[in-house]
């Protein structure tokens, strides 16, 4: 235990800001997960691996002399088609089955992706340099890499675009209708097969954006996907499906929680504390649910 974070107010501010910027990025990944979970009732274990694959796209652009920030545009386009392909090959065969089958299927995809990325890109840790510099606040006591600010900003832009798209466009309405009641939507002429494919594609595209941002801000590695899956799972659990403001809030909350856990418990417990929090929240939710059920009896 180390309470340094409360002894220096500057560290407290730093931890909050770092957590906030990180949390916004997590929320973007979680939003994709919430979307497809809500629409298709699929928990995608390969979410984090899609993120890493998106990161590699930005990295390869950087390697060939293109500024990695363009990855934010290119990566989602490629990843959209990757998502559609995964849907056509695997997901459409499990979409009507129970949750357990889809978890197994996406777990398989996750392992496959990890190994394929390792095979294709090698096991080295890579990163893409944006050269964006640093913002200093409070007499140089709080430092924010501009790449982090950039990723939070882009995440917000994409989230807003998506909300507007879901509200206004025909496909967006069809997706929402399918989420509410797939059978009714089908009867009313919505091609649910197409909607499912598009939803999975959009989720993969969001992962692509997030991956590009992670390669600019942090580092990527073929085996680094799982923590991102867990984080987004947790954010969705806390926020509930179809609750975008909730996803954003719980994303930022998780980001700040992680930073403080890092300072107080030590870096080694950072990811562990997320797992622990997940367990606690699941237990709490179950407890609440069981009370409700009793009431219904």
């Amino acid at each position: 235990m180390d309470f340094l974070v409360f002894q220096y107010p500057m560290i407290t501010i730093q931890a909050c800001l770092d957590g906030l910027l990180l949390g916004i990025l997590f929320a973007l990944i979680a939003y994709g997960m919430a979307l497809q979970w809500g629409v298709m009732n699929i928990i995608n274990i390969a979410q984090g691996d899609l993120v890493i694959l998106g990161g590699y796209i930005a990295y390869f652009m950087y390697l060939y002399g293109i500024h990695p920030a363009w990855g934010v545009i290119v990566s989602p386009i490629i990843m959209y088609f990757v998502g559609i392909a995964i849907y056509k090959l695997v997901i459409n065969k499990v979409v009507d089955r129970d949750l357990f089958i889809s978890i197994l299927a996406t777990f398989g995809i996750s392992i496959l992706f990890m190994q394929l990325m390792n095979f294709a890109f090698g096991a080295d840790v890579v990163l893409a340099n944006s050269g964006y510099g640093t913002t200093m606040l409070f007499d140089n006591n709080v430092v924010l890499p501009n790449s982090k600010i950039f990723s939070a900003f882009i995440s917000i832009v994409f989230a807003i675009c998506l909300v507007v798209y879901m509200k206004r466009s025909k496909l967006g309405r069809a997706i929402r209708a399918t989420a509410q009641n797939a059978r009714a939507a089908k009867i009313l002429g919505v091609d649910t097969e197409k909607v499912y494919a598009a939803t999975f594609g959009i989720n993969a595209a969001l992962c692509g954006v997030a991956g590009a941002l992670i390669s600019i801000t942090f580092t990527i590695h073929p085996y680094m996907g799982l923590p991102y899956t867990i984080r987004s799972f947790m954010i969705v659990i806390v926020a509930g499906l179809g609750n975008l403001p909730g996803v954003a809030m719980s994303g930022m909350g998780l980001g700040i929680f992680e930073e403080f856990a890092d300072y107080i418990l030590g870096t080694e417990f950072r990811i562990g504390s997320v797992f622990l929090l997940l367990v606690l929240i699941l237990v709490y939710r179950r407890f609440k649910l069981s009370r409700k059920r009793e009431y219904l009896k």
């Binding site: 340094l4 340099n129 640093t134 890499p145 942090f218 580092t219 870096t267």
Partner: protein, 412 residues
């Protein structure tokens, strides 16, 4: 009756075929000495696994083309059976079993990384198979009383020892304040123990002691603490991932620290990703091509590096050099033992005292090499952004003077 005869002939033919194929894999066949190795050709260690394999192959070709190994008046050639351990310790242990009990290999070369060596060592020990390994430096390998394990490299606790001692020396012999962040794997934790020892001996104080989980790609929290507490030395060890993450975040967060010492920070890799931001980092290394050790097979480091580059197309990292050295040690031990008896070869290995292009090799009773110090590089870049490793310590081989303290970010 006829059918029965045919059947018997058929079965015995298969049995014969099978037995000869087993024999053909045994330790010494005709003029071949067959060594076994499980290497990470896929999985997270695959890049260093390939460096290891290239090092082994380079030495096998060289020794074979320069006359081979002379035992009992006969000349033998080396050959290696490789299996891919997928960077997985369990798999590595299984493969070691398979090499020894199915392929009947009687001498082994080590895998890549301390973790995998730790998984294999109990197996080779159980069967009494001598293993010369070149990529497992964890101290715990050498405290278990293994009799058949020999490591050509210096143990992990010595990796950054020299950095702390240099910092103390530059501080006028007074203790320094150390901040450290280590990944939670066998190797990095041993490096950490080495730092703790060095700190105790020099009266230095450890003010930040963070552990990094293996999935981590963000160490901002550690660096914020460093910024506030202003230590004299920052030590980071977490394989290449740790080094890359550290340089990225130190440069982005403009963390000023007089000395930054790391492991796994090859200048070529760092500067490819970070350019001049990696400048002034101190790196611990087992070997550098400019060291002046010599042997009959590779001549010296510079010649080895040139030959290696010609064959594999890249500058050899120390992982390749130490792997090549392992074969030289085996050859020397076979010739001194003058037999293929495992126990006698083991005794000959224990008495090894030789110089190779990679360094002097002499094993302590625990199996670690005690005759080869670590070297410390500093990454130095020219104006064009091209960076190089320059040896700065020990002074005997220094090709450049240590730049200390590291210039502040505002002045760069």
């Amino acid at each position: 009756m006829k059918i029965k005869n045919i059947l018997i002939t058929f079965v015995s033919a298969i049995a014969l075929l099978f037995s000869t194929s087993v024999v053909s894999f045994a330790k010494v066949v005709g003029d071949k000495i067959i060594l076994g190795a499980a290497i990470s050709l896929t999985g997270k260690y695959s890049s260093n696994g390939v460096h290891t394999q290239n090092g082994y192959n380079m030495a096998v070709d060289r020794i074979n083309s320069m006359g081979g190994v002379k035992v009992g008046g006969k000349t033998y050639k080396f050959d290696i059976i490789y299996y891919d351990d997928e960077s997985n310790p369990k798999r590595a242990a299984q493969l070691a079993e398979r090499l020894i009990s199915q392929d009947k290999v009687e001498f082994m070369l080590g895998p890549y990384s301390s973790g995998l060596t730790k998984a294999i060592a109990p197996v080779t020990e159980k069967y009494g198979v001598p293993m010369v390994e070149a990529n497992g430096a964890s101290r715990s390998l050498f405290t278990k009383g293994y009799k058949y394990l020999f490591a050509v490299l210096a143990p992990a606790n010595l990796y950054l020892d020299v950095a702390i001692r240099t910092a103390v020396e530059l501080n006028g012999g007074k203790g320094v304040r150390i901040a450290q962040a280590f990944e939670q794997d066998a190797f990095s934790q041993d490096v950490r123990l080495g730092i703790l020892d060095a700190a105790k001996e020099t009266g230095s104080e450890i003010i930040i002691d963070d552990k990094l989980p293996k999935e981590l790609n963000d160490m901002a929290a550690t660096l914020v603490k460093v910024k506030q507490m202003k230590p004299d030395v920052l030590v980071v060890s977490g394989h290449t991932k740790g080094a890359l993450t550290a340089i990225r975040q130190i440069s982005e967060m403009k963390v000023d620290v007089p000395m930054l010492a790391m492991t796994h920070c090859d200048a070529a890799k760092l500067s490819k990703q970070h350019g001049k931001n990696s400048q002034y980092a101190l790196c611990a290394s087992q070997w550098h091509k400019t060291l002046t050790y010599k042997d009959d097979f590779f001549k010296d480091g510079m010649t080895y590096a040139a030959d290696f580059e010609k064959e594999f197309g890249y500058d050899p990292p120390y992982q390749s050099a130490e792997s090549s050295a392992a074969l030289l040690v085996f050859k020397d031990a076979f010739e001194r033992a003058n037999t293929f008896d495992q126990k006698k070869v083991r005794d000959a290995l224990a008495e090894t005292n030789m110089q190779t292009f990679y360094g002097n090799i002499k094993f302590a009773p625990g199996g670690q090499n005690v005759d080869k110090p670590m070297v410390l590089f500093q990454v130095m870049c020219d104006d064009a952004g091209k960076c190089e490793n320059k040896v700065v310590a020990p002074l005997k081989w220094a090709s450049a003077e240590l730049i200390h303290p590291v210039p502040k970010w505002s002045e760069r």
